[in-house]
Structure formats: C-alpha cells, structure tokens
Symmetry: C2
Subunit: 351 residues, 2 copies
C-alpha cells in the first residue's frame, strides 16, 4: 500500500500544526537537505511545453529516497477559474523502486516556496529587518507573508497589486496574523522604508516590477515571480548592483532573473551559504538578491516533511497504487482475485 495525502488531508495537517510552527519545521527540513546538497542527483526539470503553458516532472534522489513532483504552469488558467500552478509528488524507496508516499503538492509547493524564501532571507537579509514590501497578492502572497513572519518576525507588510480585488482577499486571510499591513498604491510606494522586497507577480513576460532607482542600500530582494524563460520582474541594472544567490545555477540561468545576464555572471549557490562555505550578507549596505525559481530538492524536503508529519495521524490514507502479488512471478494470479462487486456484470461494459 502507498500512503496518500489528499488536499483535505493537507488542509487538516496544516491546521493541526499551525502555520507558524509548520514554517519553522519545514525550513529545518529544507536546510537539512541543502546542507547535504552534493548527495542529491540533480537535473533540470523535464518540461512539456504547449501553447497554454508547461507540464514538468522534477525528479531527484539522495540514493536512499527518490522523489519527483508533477507540476504545471498555465498563466491563463485563472481566466477560466483554474489555478496557474497545480502539483503532486511522490517518494519511492531507491533500493526496491517501490513508491511509498504520494501527496498533493499544490498547497505543499506554496508552503515550500515561501519556506525557501524565508530560509534564504534568514541568511541574506539584515538581522534588524522588520518591514517587507510585498508586490503581488496572488495565490502565493499569504504564504510568503506568513513564512517571513514565522522565520524573521516581520512586523509590517507594505502591499501592492495591480488588481485592487486582490487586497480584500489578502486582508481577510491575514486577519489573524499579527502583522501590520499597509496598503499602498504603487510598487514605488511599497518599497519605501522596506528592508526586504518580495516580488511575486504572475505575468508570463518580461516585466519591470522593480526599477533601479527603487532599490536602496542594504535591501534584500526576494524575487519569486521571475521563474520561467521569458518571465522576469526586475530591471537588469538591479541585478548588476546586487550579490545574487540561487538554488541550482543550471536551472536558474534559464528560468530566473539572471536569464537577463551573461551566462558566466557570478552567482552564489544558496546551499554553500547555509554550510558556511560562502558568505551571505557581509555588510549592512549590501544589496542581496535571492533569485528564486524553485528546485526539486525543495520538493523532496517538503515531501519528507509531510510524510514524517502524517505518520501516526489520520491525515493520510492507504491506496492500492501498486499491485502486490504474494508470489512476485505470479502477477497474473492476481487477476483471479475478482471482488464480488466485479463478479456482477457491470452494465456499462456489457454492450
């Protein structure tokens, strides 16, 4: 049997842990895996492109456990009432190849993306950072806000979205957060006084959410929304003034803000900051940039986290995804085990 965590299971799990505690635990799982970065098989995602979007498979393995995520990105989906991104993931035992755990990851991806952003900021933002500009109040916004509250104790958010309808939704979801929320009328206004700037907009195009004159000394930029070829949020000049930190350079150079730069522009791998091999922030006036695109190892961490959290709880069920004949050479023998339900003729199949 394979353990399955569905959407309602995930909702209930998150509810039972609480988001503050969840983000702290999840960041610990991601840090554990970033510290042992070199143990993982890493490959750029396998993408199937179409006119409307992309479907991707993101596999990785630490040689004990194999994981992959299925994820789509379809920017026009919201026009039809559907989400831009949906996902699910799986863990399997490398020794046997048997799948062991499968989970919804639409919510889990939002959680791990926000947790990774907050983890990066823990190493890259100024220690006294208390005010965050949040530009874009779409599906990922509350997750980012609450991860930064949990990990960096952010006290004030300065929020902006080009769609005025996004604000009431955001405010409702943040009502219990204990974070002061200041609504502003432009991205320019949002960044005033901000120690951290999070951009998480959704347009699939080269946009300039942040221009060079908006970025003062000492700021940490958490650039989340520039995450596929042809989709960026920051003016190139900002990149040239920043120290840039990335997950997996091979992927980020294709998908991230740094697709605007030369292929050999220096970047620092985040895992090396976490192990201490490389420096994160070294001065209060430095501009740091986390060019987030999302990598398979983070999904692997999130799957490990969810799997560990649900053991001994009612937040999963077993599904018979994998046939398990008593004699492995007698797979055919299973077909003799027709249930009584099937022994009755199935009307739709008799014609």
């Amino acid at each position: 049997m394979v353990q399955f965590v569905g959407t309602q299971n995930m909702i209930d799990l998150v509810g039972s842990i609480g988001l503050n505690s969840l983000f702290r635990k999840l960041v610990a799982y991601i840090e554990q895996d970033f510290v042992r970065w070199n143990e993982f098989d890493k490959t750029p995602r396998i993408a199937s492109h179409s006119d409307n979007g992309v479907i991707e498979l993101m596999p990785t393995s630490d040689h004990d456990l194999y994981g992959f995520k299925y994820v789509n990105g379809h920017p026009q989906n919201p026009v039809h009432g559907l989400q831009t991104v949906t996902a699910f993931g799986l863990l399997a035992d490398v020794a046997t190849g048997y799948p062991e755990f499968i989970s919804e990851m639409t919510i889990a991806t939002a959680l791990r993306t926000a947790a990774t952003s907050a983890m990066a900021a823990k190493y890259l933002a100024r220690k006294d950072a208390k005010v965050m500009a949040l530009i874009g109040m779409g599906a990922q916004a509350e997750f980012q806000a609450l991860a930064f509250k949990a990990i960096l104790d952010i006290a004030e958010l300065r929020v902006f979205d080009i769609d005025p309808a996004a604000y009431p939704k955001f405010l409702r979801n943040m009502a219990q957060s204990g974070v002061r929320i200041t609504r502003v009328q432009s991205a320019e206004e949002a960044v005033v006084g901000a120690d951290i700037i999070t951009t998480v907009t959704a347009d699939k195009k080269r946009a300039t959410i942040l221009s060079d004159n908006m970025i003062g000394a000492g700021v940490h930029i958490n650039a989340v929304g520039g995450d596929c070829p042809g989709k960026t949020e920051l003016h190139r000049d900002i990149l040239l003034r920043s120290d840039i930190f990335v997950e997996f350079p091979d992927q980020t150079r294709i998908e991230g803000e740094i697709q605007q730069l030369d292929a050999d522009h220096p970047v620092t791998e985040l895992w090396q900051v976490i192990t201490g091999e490389k420096s994160g922030r070294v001065s209060p006036r430095q501009i740091t940039l986390f060019d987030s695109v999302g990598f398979a190892v983070e999904d692997f961490s999130a799957l490990r986290f969810v799997r560990d959290m649900v053991q001994g709880t009612r937040f999963y069920r077993d599904i018979d995804l994998i046939a398990e004949p008593a004699d492995p050479r007698d797979l055919f023998g299973l077909l003799a085990k027709t249930s009584s339900a099937a022994a009755r003729p199935a009307p739709a199949l008799t014609s």
Copy 2:
C-alpha cells in the same frame, strides 16, 4: 477531483471485460496511437539509476492529452518477495495542465506489453502461425500467451523456464485458456516446430537464450526480455539474418537486442508497418524480429483505454489529488477549511 484506478479496480475491470475481449480492444487503442505516431512528443525515458535497479519516468503528449508512467526495474526484487517491475501512470489535460486520471500500471504494463507484442505479430508473423514457443514463465508469461491467443488464435504453446517451479504456476493460470500447452526441457526443444518464438526471460545480463542454429526460415521472433542496456537474449547472428522491427529507434538502440549491432544497422519502425508506409512480412521464409523494449506511447494508449473503460462503472474512485479553490488566487483560503476531524487535536502532533 482526479479519477483513480487502484489495483483492485484494475483486477475487477479486467474480470468484467474478460481477457480475450480486453486484448482485442487494447490492441485497437495501441494501433490508433501508432497510426498517428508523428502527433506525439517522444523522448527517451528519464532514468535514475542505482546499484539495485532503475526508476524511470516516461512522458509523452499528443498535444491534447499528456501522459506519463512511473516504472521501476529491480532484478533482485523477487529474491525479497517483491516484483521486478511496478508502475503507475497519469493522464492530464494539456490545455490546463490539470491531472485528470491516475491508474495502477503494474498490471496495465503487463497487458500493454503483451498487446503490443501480439499487435506486432499480427503484421509480422505468418498468417498460418499456430504454434508459439514461450521461453521464460515469469510474471509476463501468461499475458503474452493470452494476447497471442486473442489476436492470432495461437493453438499450441511450447513452454520452457530454467526454474522448474515456474511451470505449475503457469499451468494453473492457463487452465481455462483453451490453449494446448506442451512442456519441454530446453529452449532448443521449445522452438522445434514453432511459428513464433517469444523470449521473455528476466536476467539483467547478456544472455543467449536463442542461438543462431535454433532459428529456421519463416519464424517470427518476439523478443521481449532484452530491454535495458547490458540485457539481451538473442545471439547477434540471429539479428543479422532477421528483418528487425522496433518501436522508437532512439530508445531501442540503447535498450533492445540491437544494442549488439552498429548504430546505423537498418531497422523498420513498427508504426510505419501499421500505416502501410513500410512492408511487414513479405515472404513465408523471411525471419522477422520484433525487438520489444516498451515505449511511452503504448502506456499512453493503455491509460486512454483504462480511462475510457471505467467511465460509468464502479471501477474507479475520485481522489482529491489537486486542490481546487473557488477563487484560483485564493489558494490560502482553502487552509481555513479545516475539517471537524482536524479541529480535534491530533495526538501525534501535539508533542
């Protein structure tokens, strides 16, 4: 909601259709997709190798529907009572990226492998073929035997396995088949008088199940067991005397019997025989060889088949694999929907 076909669902579905009818319908699905071969995105499988085996993802798309299969191959698994191969698969809507259907494919892979073999033999074996040698009585054996019964009306099987314990299992499973079964003591004896020779052995090494002197004029060879790098069943000299038919040359040259030949050795793509672009068997004395390795398009066909067959039946259930917020920008709002079960503290999570 995503439709889910578990192992028991699949067993019940097969029972309700009956294998004879199932193989005929399934071959029709595979033929439909082979005829429109050029509509598919095709890529070699994405493999994650380890000491014990391999885990593979096999994606394809016809631009309306995206499919992939997860499959492992671990030759030592049976020593531990586990199967060498397990699998599951998924279909998604290319337009939205949303998964729609997920199914066990351990049984479905056995069915589609056998159906593809029988489909190939329909075009490549002599029309009067009635006797098949079946060398290897492992997990795939009965599926091959019954597919050839359903599609070519094979009347006699001459069977051999190096493990004597395989025979009682095979005989029990074939008791109701209406096929005459002759047990012989060697592969040499099995091929005597056979019109079709099916090799389906499991060793992960270069083996010589068939040597050149065993192969007479007019035979069709259905070589199923040579299906990964370093694993072959036929002596190279047989290949040089045969007209060779393959699924997807890029993959077969790595995984199939033809890994023993030069990279430019001529082969015919099976889909071209089915469309009539190329000839299959042209003379009663010709030796034809289907070098089967299994390709993603066959899994796509099998998934379409199972999906279509279960509609309106009780052989699937809905699972909440994908979160579906009413407002796509309000994914976070779902987290307010904690069920009453979760509202009670979960003991395992309160510590």
